[in-house]
């Protein structure tokens, strides 16, 4: 397995015929744009799916155990497809498992929101709501991507994301407009999540490079539709939309919270304890 980022860039360049976006001496080293782009999409879903799977067997009601597991399954399924595509784009022979199990934290590209610990059911639901609303509009845009693999994932994922959005919207309304306790909990969860939402819409040189290569996503349009959905649900839930204060970011270039390392230490322990084994 090629562990060197440099090797990844070289092979990617040779295959895709594009210049890699090189890091500055103080910044992180990034790979070829399309590989980075697919890793961002894949890692978001892998890490969030993993977090949801931690609920399995511990939900507040049996029906929610099933629903949270459903969403975890959808997201991990999407992640497997996206990481496979990332591995193919990279062209060094890494498959989805090599990418999921044999990268260190700094090599993960998920947004910070995905890796935060689950908190209570309210936090998990609010986070899932905010992410699902984003996913629905992102997949809608990517349906038309001139990249057969990615458009194929989008066609399947959009149906799943719509269900996740519907299910979590219903819960945000129930919890927001439920009891004083549930209202307080879910408002706090919203306040806690909010500063991580900016990263979902941030674009950088990777997006610019992907646009030059292949396609562009109108993130401003996605943001505006996301705003509408979020405002509508929060209003029905009698919740207050937090102010857009300082936004936390860094996950897209491998600058994570301390939480990711702990998540990976659990996720990767069996695979890494047996190098070369198949499962």
């Amino acid at each position: 397995m090629a562990e060197s980022e440099e090797l990844g860039i070289a092979a990617g360049e040779a295959q895709a015929g594009v210049r890699a976006v090189a890091g500055t001496s103080r910044g992180p080293v990034l790979g070829p744009p399309m590989v980075e782009y697919l890793l961002r999409l894949g890692d978001d879903r892998l890490i969030l799916g993993h977090r949801l799977s931690e609920w399995c067997g511990h939900g507040p009601i049996l029906e929610e155990d099933i629903a949270l597991s459903n969403m975890a399954l959808d997201l991990i399924g999407q992640a497997a497809s996206l990481l496979r595509l990332a591995g193919e784009a990279e062209g060094t022979g890494r498959d989805e498992d090599a990418l999921a199990y044999w990268r260190d934290g700094v090599q993960f590209r998920n947004a910070l929101l995905m890796e935060l610990p689950n908190g209570d059911f309210g936090f998990t639901i609010v986070r899932q709501f905010l992410v699902s609303a984003h996913s629905v509009f992102l997949w809608e845009a990517l349906l038309a991507a001139p990249h057969a693999g990615l458009a194929g994932v989008a066609a399947k994922a959009i149906k799943e994301a719509k269900y996740h959005l519907r299910h979590t919207s219903e819960w945000v309304v129930r919890l927001g407009d439920g009891t004083p306790e549930s209202h307080g909990r879910v408002q706090r969860a919203l306040d806690d999540c909010w500063r991580y939402t900016g990263e979902l819409f941030a674009q950088d040189e990777i997006d610019t490079a992907v646009a030059a290569l292949s396609f562009t996503v109108d993130m401003a349009a996605i943001r505006s539709r996301w705003d509408q959905v979020v405002d509508d649900v929060l209003q029905r839930a009698t919740l207050t939309r937090p102010a857009d204060a300082a936004m936390r970011r860094g996950g897209r270039v491998g600058r994570h919270t301390e939480h990711l390392g702990h998540l990976l230490s659990v996720m990767q322990i069996v695979a890494r304890s047996h190098p070369g084994a198949t499962w």
């Binding site: 993993h50 511990h58 498992d97 439920g178 306790e181 499962w279």
Partner: protein
Amino acid sequence: MATLRGSRLCSLTHMTTTIRQLPADDPAQVAAFEARIAAGESIEPKDWMPVRYRSQLTRMMSQHAHSEIVGMLPEGNWITRAPSLRRKQSLIAKVQDEAGHGLYIYCGTETLGVDRFDLYNQLLDGTAKYSSIFNYPTLSWADMGVIGWLVDGAAIVNQTILAKTSYGPYARAMVRICKEENFHKRQGYEICMTLAKGTPAQREMLQDAVNRFWWPSLMMFGPSDTHSPNTAELLKWRVKRKTNDELRQRFINLTVPQAQELGITLPDPDLRYNAETKNWDFGPIDWSEFQEVIAGNGPCNRERLEARRAAHDEGRWVREAAAAHAAKRSQATAAA
């Protein structure tokens, strides 16, 4: 799973229904009932049935449902550590199936006039029983294979027969559940086969898991016929169709060749083929261990119940919020 996606919150928010009054048995009705059983008819929820028949079925079905729910925990323990994305997905799907089975059987018990929340409270307060196998810890990834192979395998032997039980709703539930359990068993056996063909460490992991789960799997069929207080009555009413010992022997006969295929050793020096009976004879089961686990003194009894109680307690505010919101909505509808 699409059918389970719809929220059933309305039915979840009322928490207090008591067991309905049961009619006293009339000998003529019992005779008519037993004639129907003897003729191989299926008993349906609205049919007359003896009080004991109803209570035995409630006991069996609720224990079964509890076992599905508690059974989510030992396997759920390895979801976050599954060593490949494919294994992670299939393990989540399996545990999710168990939740679905639990829900399905709990709903089945309601056809007998009990409320699933009363039954669930019996699980939480420790008065209800569930399968003793889930009180054993899962200590390595190989346990995910061995549980699928042996534990689901044993469950299938039980449930295939239960699919012919005289109570219609339970029989139909078993037909559906058996299909999924068969899939789980194949999946488990495939994990075992992958480990058996793997590195020395993987083979060692597999053998260790088999050593730990073999005897508890045999105990899943319940006490020997001579010590099973419920068997005679259950056989008479065709709730059960085979005795515990018959089913246990059938499981062993099916499993030994599979173990040979894997190239692993079953931890029983007395295990040998009997050409006369065409059965695999086996050594004595340590029933004192079984009794200890049933009595609450197994390795994980406390942990399993504690996990269910914690989920229930931590979910209280969520259930209260759902109920409060539903009440507001129905008030708003009434006012409109």
